[in-house]
Symmetry: C2
Amino acid sequence: MNKTLEAEVTQLHAEICAGLADPNRILILYALSQGPRNVTELCTELEMPQPLVSRHLKVLRERGMVTTERRGTVVTYSLGDDRLIQALDLLRAVMHDNLAKRAELAQAIL
Amino acid sequence: MNKTLEAEVTQLHAEICAGLADPNRILILYALSQGPRNVTELCTELEMPQPLVSRHLKVLRERGMVTTERRGTVVTYSLGDDRLIQALDLLRAVMHDNLAKRAELAQAIL
DNA sequence: GAACTATATGCGGATAAACGAATGTTATTG
DNA sequence: CAATAACATTCGTTTATCCGCATATAGTTC
């Protein structure tokens, strides 16, 4: 694997990570992990304006993180890969441990 | 869990994800997964200028994703949590599957 | 094809991220 | 207290991201 190619792969890797790096997209992905949803359903479920949901879905779509199916005017989105949720869960656990450690430190100072 | 608190937690979750969302930081994290490294070692190993490495390490440090230990003037960085690599590996696998699917589609078109 | 519903996109502004280049800081050593 | 080595930070610029608001497109129904 030459350097340029490896850099491109790492770039793509980072783009998938960037797909997770927004609170609203995290909420959308967890909602989709419960099952397919159309845009309107996501809007009401997450209390987000429709253009905002659509744009975040576009980001996820471009990265292959969700899939779509159209039925009439309704577009139903599905989670593209369960491992996205597995990864999010791992990172959430890391975050919780970090919070716990910070709390310990704060305790030690007092 | 009230709405505001949940939003804050999701925000932190997204910040961890954002910590992964840069090619240079991904390279740094994988390097650290092989064992602790000091800044100079990371610079030579990854062929990155030192200020760049330091700034990325700062991002990771602020999010609790790496830990540091100072010995004289040398600061050694360690991976803060193995699950970061587990998550990166999962996402890398997702990316590879996406690439494979795209290749299939391209094939189907021809 | 007009009206309607569902979804997508464009625009503009605000905020944040990334980088190279230069400079600061900290700790060691003579 | 130089001089040096190892890191960290600041500055200025460029580029990207996020959002609200408005508007466009696609598909259905009459």
